[in-house]
């Protein structure tokens, strides 16, 4: 069904997208919680900074990553010398670029669902002896979980399609950084590869659809779980 090259591309794309959301999810949750629950001077600046990748040209983000996380970059050189981690021209770099580009989407979905959790419920939990951490783990996070998962899935779908920042930061190296969009772009430079391009496009559409449908399904199920009981009792009473 798929050629070996195609399987390599799909596997790499999934690997890059999965790594990007796994690493960024906890950080996004922390940012979303801070934005949803606390007030501090400079919050609007922080908010804008988090959303920056949404509006910046991707090539600018890619170039910024190259400056910061390249082997000579301010952060990249430290990571390389101390931990032996390199991003430049590696799949990890593609995951980093995808994580940065998907970050605002993830934070947005998480923040909306955290804001929907009543602070009064959290207060009630604390009067019952629960610490802030326990309240977050047992009340806030479970109630916001649908939005958190949707945020992760949206960012995952976004990561599968990430192109501009990735090609700027880690180039287009088959087997290392060549994800689906980069492979499609590569093929468009080669005459007579229309069939191969269309196949990859179809795969890309299918993967994105699965992620979006899954997020929709999770949202509905979670809403039914929280509100379903109330609906049930309302209809049970005459």
């Amino acid at each position: 069904m798929f050629s070996a090259a195609e399987i390599e591309i799909i596997a790499l794309s999934l690997q890059v997208a999965a790594a990007s959301v796994i690493v960024s999810a906890p950080l996004a949750l922390a940012c979303a919680y801070v934005l949803a629950r606390s007030h501090f001077i400079g919050k609007s600046v922080f908010d804008a900074f988090v959303h920056l990748p949404l509006v910046l040209p991707p090539v600018v983000v890619g170039y910024a990553l190259l400056l910061l996380f390249g082997t000579q970059g301010a952060i990249g050189s430290v990571l390389k010398d101390w931990f032996g981690i390199t991003f430049a021209f590696r799949w990890t770099g593609a995951a980093l670029a995808a994580a940065v580009m998907g970050f605002p989407l993830m934070v947005r979905a998480m923040r909306l669902s955290l804001e929907a959790v009543s602070p009064k419920l959290e207060s009630a939990a604390r009067t019952l002896g629960a610490s802030r951490a326990r309240v977050f783990a047992t009340i806030t996070l479970p109630l916001a979980l649908p939005g958190v998962i949707v945020g992760v899935l949206l960012a995952f779908a976004r990561s599968l399609g990430e192109f501009g920042a990735t090609i700027t930061f880690v180039s287009n190296i088959p087997g290392e950084t060549q994800t689906l969009p980069l492979a499609i772009y590569g093929l468009t430079q080669t005459p007579g590869s229309d069939a191969a391009i269309l196949r990859l496009c179809a795969i890309s559409v299918a993967l994105s659809l699965v992620a979006l449908i899954a997020s929709e399904w999770i949202t509905r199920r979670a809403q039914a779980r929280v509100q379903g009981g109330a609906k049930h009792s309302a209809s049970a009473r005459p």
């Binding site: 009064k120 419920l121 019952l128 002896g129 509100q227 009473r237």
Partner: protein, 368 residues
């Protein structure tokens, strides 16, 4: 002993002219303390300060000598370490947990002295609800579970903020009875916030009367509701007196109960209390009729004798007459015309007529 001495200012949209401030000082070691006042009088802010949900600008809050908040010494115990249960107006059950999980949420605190789940479930009558999801409960069921959840967290004091506000009349008296059982059987102290004279006069041992963030009075319930100067706040229309009486006997044929107090005897609709128990009876001033001679052949069951101690004329048609029977005082609200025709003055001897069915049965409750 609960001691509160706090100040807090709220500025509305930074506009100091519309600022609202609370300056409240009171203390009480009653089993049920009511914070009583109109909405906006600061009741909720004060209980929130006791719970730690609101931080006062200045002052101290202590329970049994233990400082929970002390601005001068930088003491501000965290909400979770105060050991104070809170029953909110809206119940605030956790919607993703079932009833049993809600009940046991706070049970991890001070596990040793905690009440057993079975006892609380039995008392509150929520046995059949345990596996239900919280959002599927009715209003009355939610409040029962909320009370149970607070009890099971083993608090030193339970704060209840208008716990009956969202319930219908039948559910209200059910929950009131439960709160009395909690007080009597589980010996839990309660700070009860309400604007309802009926609830407060039935439940509270001590009442703190609040108005615009200030404490007008802090005294035992009878004294507060019988104080003439507080009547604008304890209700003009609903105004009346509170009398503590002992149940003498039940008339099972006519379903009446006779009570005695140190001004005479009162016949009231039968209520289900043991003979000899102390009951608080509220007599509304508008239900009291005065006569200068003892009337004959009338349907009114209660005819008592007393002496006028004060006449208070609001401008217009109404005169409020204070009458004394034994050591007890009552208010009667009569027309000014009637007072003039009867030539009532301070010292006049009068007969006091109260219909047996006029007693506000819902406000009658066992007192301490």
């Amino acid at each position: 002993m609960i001691e509160v001495d706090i100040e807090k200012r709220f500025s509305r949209h930074g506009d100091t002219s519309g600022a609202f401030s609370i300056a409240a000082t009171f203390s009480s070691d009653a089993r049920i303390i009511a914070l009583f006042g109109k909405s906006g009088s600061g009741k909720t802010t004060i209980v929130n300060a006791i719970a730690g949900l609101v931080q006062p600008d200045r002052g101290t809050i202590s329970i049994d000598g233990e400082r929970l908040f002390d601005s001068a010494h930088g003491v501000n115990r965290s909400i979770e370490s105060r050991g104070i249960g809170y029953v909110f107006q809206e119940g605030l059950l956790f919607p993703h947990l079932n009833v049993k999980q809600n009940l046991l949420y706070g049970a991890k605190r001070n596990g040793s002295a905690a009440l057993p789940l079975a006892q609380v479930v039995e008392l509150l009558g929520i046995d059949s609800l345990l596996s239900r999801d919280a959002p599927s409960l009715s209003g009355g069921e939610k409040q029962r579970v909320a009370i149970g959840r607070a009890l099971l967290s083993n608090p030193r004091v339970i704060l209840m903020d208008e716990p009956l506000a969202s319930l219908d009349v039948a559910r209200r008296s059910e929950i009131l009875r439960l709160i009395e059982r909690v007080r009597d059987e589980l010996k839990v102290r309660i700070v009860y916030v309400s604007h309802s004279i009926g609830e407060v006069s039935r439940l509270a041992d001590d009442v703190v009367v609040l108005n615009e963030g200030r404490v007008l009075a802090c005294d035992n319930t009878e004294a507060v509701f019988n104080r003439a100067d507080l009547r604008p706040h304890t209700g003009r229309y609903e105004g009346g007196a509170l009398i503590e009486a002992t149940a003498l006997h039940h008339d099972t044929e006519y379903f009446l109960t006779t009570f005695s107090f140190d001004g005479g005897e009162l016949i009231a609709p039968g209520i289900d209390v043991p003979i000899g128990s102390r009951v608080r009876i509220r007599i509304r001033a508008r239900d009291v009729t005065l006569a200068t001679e003892r009337p004959k052949n009338i349907s009114v069951r209660n005819v008592l004798e007393g002496k006028v101690t004060a006449l208070e004329s609001h401008a217009g048609a109404i005169v409020e007459v204070r009458v004394k029977m034994g050591t007890r005082e009552l208010s009667a609200r009569i027309s000014r015309q009637a007072a003039d025709e009867m030539t009532l003055t301070v010292g006049s001897r009068v007969h006091i007529l109260i219909k047996a069915i006029a007693f506000d049965k819902r406000s009658m409750g066992l007192s301490a």
